[in-house]
C-alpha cells in the first residue's frame, strides 16, 4: 500500500470511528454532560467541538482505546472553558463551584447512563408538547433540526427556534435531570411514550386507504423505544409501544406492490411481512401482558396483532376487535381511535357505523382518515354517489401519492 493510500485508509478508518462513536454514544455522552448543568445547548456545543477535535486528531494519533471516554473528557474540558469564559465576565461563584464539581467527577466512573433522565426532561410538562419528540430526537440521537423539521412537516427555521427555546427553558426553569417521584411517574412516563410514538409518525396501513402521516423517523423512533425498554425493562407500556411500532413496521414491505402502488391491509400478502419483527412484537406483547396492567400502547398493539391474524387466517374477529377499540377509547380517547372503531363496527352493523362516523363530522373536515373511512362505509351501505364524493375528498387530502392513486382508482370500480 502506498503511503498516500495508507494515509487515506487510516483517515477513513478514524473518521468512521468518530461516526460510530457519535451515533452510538451521542445521547449517552450528552446526557452525562447536561445532567448536572441542565444546559443542553452548552453540552451540545461542547460535544460537537469534541467530535470535531476527534476528526482532526484521530487520523494522526490513532483512535483512542476508549473513544467514548476520550470524547467525554474533551467535551468536559470544552464545557469548563466555556464556563470559565463566562465566569470571568459575570463572576459566578456557583459556576466556579460547578466547574470544580465537574473536575472532581473525572475520577468517577464516567459511563453511568443518564439517558432515561434526559428522556424525562424532554417530555417534561413545562416543555411544549409539540417539541418534546423533536427534542428527544435531537438530544438522544443527535439529529439536526432540518431533518427533524422535514419529518414533522414544519419549516426548518421554526423547528430550530422551538428547539432553542425548549433548551433555554430547561436551563432557566431548572428542570431536574431526575426520574420523577412515584406519584408523578405514571403521567410523566406516558408523556415519554407519547413523544416517542409521535416521532414514529402514524404509519398505520388501514383497510380504508387512510393516509399515513408520513413515515416520520420510524427507524429512529423504534431505536428510542428499544432504549426505553432497556432502561425500564419492567414497564409494560414501554414494551407495548415497541410491540405496536414493530407490528406496523413489519408490514411496511407489503404496503406497496411491485409497481409502487398502495396495498391496503386486507389485500396484503402476509408472506411479505417481516416475520422476525412480527415474532418479536408478539413476544413483547405477551411479556407485557404478564404485568396485567393494560394501557394505551398494549391495547393498540393487541389491535394490530388481531389485524395481522385476520389477514393471515382470513377469519375476521369483529367482536373482539370492537371490544379492544372500546377499551382503547376508555383508556386513551382520540379522534383516530373513534374513526377506527367505526370501521370495525361496520363489519357488524354498517348503519350504526355510519352514524358513529357522522357524529365526528364537525371535527374531521380536513382529517383524511375520516374521509377514507366514510368512503369505505358509504360503499358498504350501497350509497355510491356519496361514496364517490367522499373518496374524492379523501384523495384530495392525501399526501401520499400511492394512497391518492389507490383511492382514485376505486372510483372506476
Amino acid at each position: 500500500m502506498s503511503e498516500a493510500a495508507r494515509r487515506g485508509f487510516e483517515d477513513a478508518a478514524a473518521r468512521r470511528s468518530v461516526e460510530i462513536a457519535a451515533r452510538t454514544s451521542y445521547g449517552r455522552l450528552l446526557a452525562l454532560l447536561a445532567s448536572r448543568s441542565r444546559d443542553i445547548a452548552a453540552a451540545e456545543d461542547a460535544l460537537a467541538e469534541a467530535l470535531e477535535a476527534a476528526i482532526a486528531t484521530w487520523p494522526d494519533r490513532g483512535v483512542p482505546a476508549n473513544p467514548d471516554a476520550w470524547l467525554l473528557t474533551a467535551a468536559r474540558r470544552n464545557l469548563g472553558h466555556a464556563r470559565a469564559r463566562q465566569a470571568t465576565a459575570t463572576t459566578g461563584a456557583a459556576t466556579m463551584a460547578l466547574l470544580q464539581d465537574e473536575r472532581d467527577s473525572h475520577g468517577a466512573v464516567p459511563f453511568g447512563d443518564e439517558r432515561l433522565k434526559l428522556l424525562f426532561v424532554c417530555a417534561h410538562p413545562a416543555i411544549d408538547a409539540s417539541v418534546q419528540a423533536p427534542l428527544m430526537l435531537q438530544t438522544v440521537l443527535g439529529l439536526d433540526a432540518a431533518r427533524i423539521a422535514a419529518s414533522f412537516l414544519v419549516a426548518p427555521a421554526t423547528m430550530g427556534q422551538k428547539l432553542v427555546r425548549a433548551k433555554a427553558r430547561i436551563r432557566d426553569a431548572g428542570i431536574a435531570f431526575a426520574i420523577p417521584e412515584s406519584e408523578q411517574l405514571p403521567e410523566r412516563r406516558a408523556a415519554v411514550l407519547a413523544a416517542i410514538y409521535a416521532a414514529y409518525g402514524t404509519a398505520h396501513d388501514t383497510i380504508t386507504g387512510a393516509d399515513p402521516r408520513g413515515e416520520g423517523l420510524a427507524g429512529e423512533a423504534i431505536w428510542l423505544a428499544r432504549l426505553l425498554c432497556e432502561l425500564m425493562p419492567d414497564d409494560p407500556e414501554a414494551l407495548g409501544l415497541l410491540a405496536l411500532m414493530l407490528f406496523c413496521e413489519a408490514r411496511r414491505p407489503a404496503r406497496r406492490d411491485a409497481a409502487g402502488g398502495f396495498v391496503p391491509l386486507r389485500a396484503q400478502d402476509p408472506h411479505r411481512w417481516d416475520a422476525a419483527m412480527l415474532a418479536e412484537a408478539e413476544a413483547l406483547l405477551r411479556t407485557a401482558a404478564r404485568h396485567a396492567t393494560p394501557g394505551r400502547f398494549q391495547i393498540e398493539a393487541a389491535i394490530q396483532s388481531l389485524h395481522a391474524e385476520t389477514v393471515m387466517t382470513g377469519v375476521s374477529n369483529p367482536g373482539p376487535l370492537l371490544a379492544l377499540y372500546d377499551l382503547l377509547l376508555a383508556t386513551a380517547p382520540s379522534i383516530g381511535a373513534r374513526v377506527s372503531r367505526a370501521v370495525a363496527l361496520a363489519a357488524l352493523d354498517p348503519a350504526a357505523a355510519c352514524a358513529a362516523l357522522d357524529a365526528l363530522a364537525d371535527r374531521c373536515a380536513t382529517y383524511q382518515p375520516w374521509w377514507a373511512a366514510r368512503a369505505h362505509l358509504l360503499r358498504l351501505t350501497g350509497d355510491m354517489a356519496r361514496a364517490h364524493a367522499a373518496t374524492k375528498t379523501a384523495a384530495g387530502l392525501a399526501s401520499d401519492p400511492a394512497v391518492r392513486a389507490w383511492l382514485l382508482a376505486t372510483l372506476q370500480e
Binding site: T158, T393, G396, A398, S399, L407
Partner: protein, 119 residues
Amino acid sequence: MEYTLLFLETAAEMARGETADAPEYWGAWTAYMGAMAAAGVMRGGNALMPPATATTLRIADGKWAVQDGPFADTKEQLGGYVIIDVPNLDAALEWAARAPCATAGSVEIRPVMPNPPGT
C-alpha cells in the same frame, strides 16, 4: 393569514396532462382542489397553460424585448397557483404536502403581502 401556493412541475410531470396518464393526472388535481374548496380555505387560484405558451416582455433603455417562452428556463416551471386562507405556516405546509406536484416537483409557499409598505 393568506398564503399563495405556487405549484412547480417538471416538464415530464406537466406532459402527463396531455398523454394517456391524463385522467390520473387531472383526477389527482381535481380531487386536491376539491378538498381545498370543501375545507373552505381556498380564496382563489388558477391552473396555467404550459410554459411553451408563455410570452415574456422586458423593456430596457426604451427598447422592447419580447421573447417566446417563460422568464427563465428552469427545471421546474410554474403550473398554477392557489391562494389559501389558513391560520399559520404549519397549516399552509400541510396543504402544500397534499399537492400532486409535491412529489413530482415542488410547492413554494409565500405569504400574501397584506398591503404594500407605506400605503
